[in-house]
């Protein structure tokens, strides 16, 4: 029986090799673009309602957090800036990544695990095709593209909802909030947020695709094993999001 430490090292090593495999295929352009586009289209339509609801709720949370400090320190002028920092870079992308991991990450792990469990990957190999080009790389790339595509509208919705909450509950002027964003928030913050979201997408894509593919070479291919792969992918995604967030915060600007 392997210990937890052995499993963690084996899992990390496997994930690293998977990341190198995807990187090689993306750099050389040898992945299935049509499949990638199909996954992006399907994923965007699938995740849009979850992200819309999530953005509204996260915007409310961001607005209420700002409102607490606004009331305590009478900081009307900087509310917009603080809300934008939270929505665009600090809180928004992190919570959005958790929502993305919950919706698309689990779905990606489940689909990949089912492909492995039903011997579809064996069939791809039998046809002389490369599963890494047809399955692995398109899934990881699609999750990064979806994350990037969702970030601008989600960040905007979060900010607008935060302003509306502050206006309705705290009487904070929407005009002053908007002025504060224009005056104090630099474009770099948006780029940092975009970079974080793409890294979160990459983390979730790699973790969940790898978890699903872990069934391929094992003899455990039952329904319960598919659930276990989804569960494993979720756990690694959560750890990955937190680690990437911490590194990005430590290396990022002060805003």
């Amino acid at each position: 029986m392997t210990s937890t430490t052995e499993r963690v090292f084996a899992g990390t090593g496997g994930l690293f090799l998977r990341a190198l495999e995807v990187l090689r295929l993306v750099v050389t352009g040898r992945f299935d673009r049509r499949e990638t586009l199909r996954l992006v289209d399907e994923g965007l339509r699938d995740v849009a309602p979850t992200v819309a609801v999530g953005s509204v709720v996260i915007g409310g949370i961001v607005g209420l957090q700002g409102l607490t400090y606004l009331t305590r320190y009478a900081a009307t002028d900087v509310f917009g800036w603080a809300a934008a920092m939270s929505a665009f870079r600090d809180v928004g992308p992190t919570l959005l990544a958790f929502a993305l991991a919950a919706r698309l990450g689990t779905r990606n792990a489940a689909e990949t695990a089912v492909l492995a469990a039903r011997e579809r990957l064996d069939a791809i190999c039998a046809l002389g095709l490369d599963p890494a080009r047809l399955v692995t790389a398109p899934r990881v790339v699609a999750l990064v593209v979806i994350s990037l595509a969702l970030y601008p509208p989600a960040a905007l919705v979060m900010l607008v909802v935060a302003f509306l909450f502050a206006a309705v509950l705290g009487g904070q002027s929407v005009v002053i909030s908007a002025w504060s964003v224009i005056e104090y928030v630099e474009a770099d913050i948006l780029l940092e947020g975009l970079a974080r979201m793409s890294l979160f997408g990459l983390t979730v894509g790699l973790a969940t695709t790898h978890a699903g593919l872990s069934l391929w070479l094992s003899d455990r291919r039952g329904a319960g094993d598919v659930g276990a792969a989804v569960y494993g992918g979720s756990v690694v995604s959560a750890c990955g999001i937190v680690t990437v967030n911490l590194i990005a915060s430590l290396l990022g600007s002060a805003g």
Binding site: A102, V114, G170
Partner: protein, 222 residues
Amino acid sequence: MRPGILPLVWRRLDEVVVGSLLLVLVAVSGIGAAMADQAGRQAMRLLGDQSFVGVEYPVLGLQEFCPLIVALVLALRVGAGFTAELATLRSDDTFDALLVAGAHPWRTRIAPMVLALPPGTVALAMLALVGWEAAGVLVMLGRSGINPFTFLHPEVVTAPLLLLLVGKCLVFGGCVAVGAVGAAMLPARPAELGVTVTRGVVLGTLLTLGANLAFDVGWYLA
């Protein structure tokens, strides 16, 4: 003789708390460290003073991030696990077989999960609070040279804030349980186990986020 429900709840509680402790500590400490670092650097840049970060940081953890991050991690980890377990029982007809055999799967399988999640979330959030504060202390010491004794402000941990944390955790734990059980009990084909797990995690996550917003609005208005 029917077995008592308490040992079953206790076993689930062990699964929720002990099984998730490491992941919860990593998640809460990681997010806490990032928050403390950003707050410290922004305070220094804008005000040239970091003294209020130590006062506000534990409040932010108590009021918002410890319960929320713990619940989101539980939705991803325990929610997915419980949904997968129940959905597997349903898909291979074990659940119906247990019903027919009079083994009371609602009492022996589902009730322990639902009863264990809320107190488990409270216990994890309390432990996570220690990780949150320790992460803040370490980051502020390492990045800004702030003395840990200057940064620590235990006096801001008041009874109403602790009550809010407990209340949030109890409700969030319930949300994760409702998401898992609700998704698993919906009709699904065996091949759709992955979809069912996804549904359980998403439902738990969205319910938690919504409940958090409702709590925040209520707390602000109060």
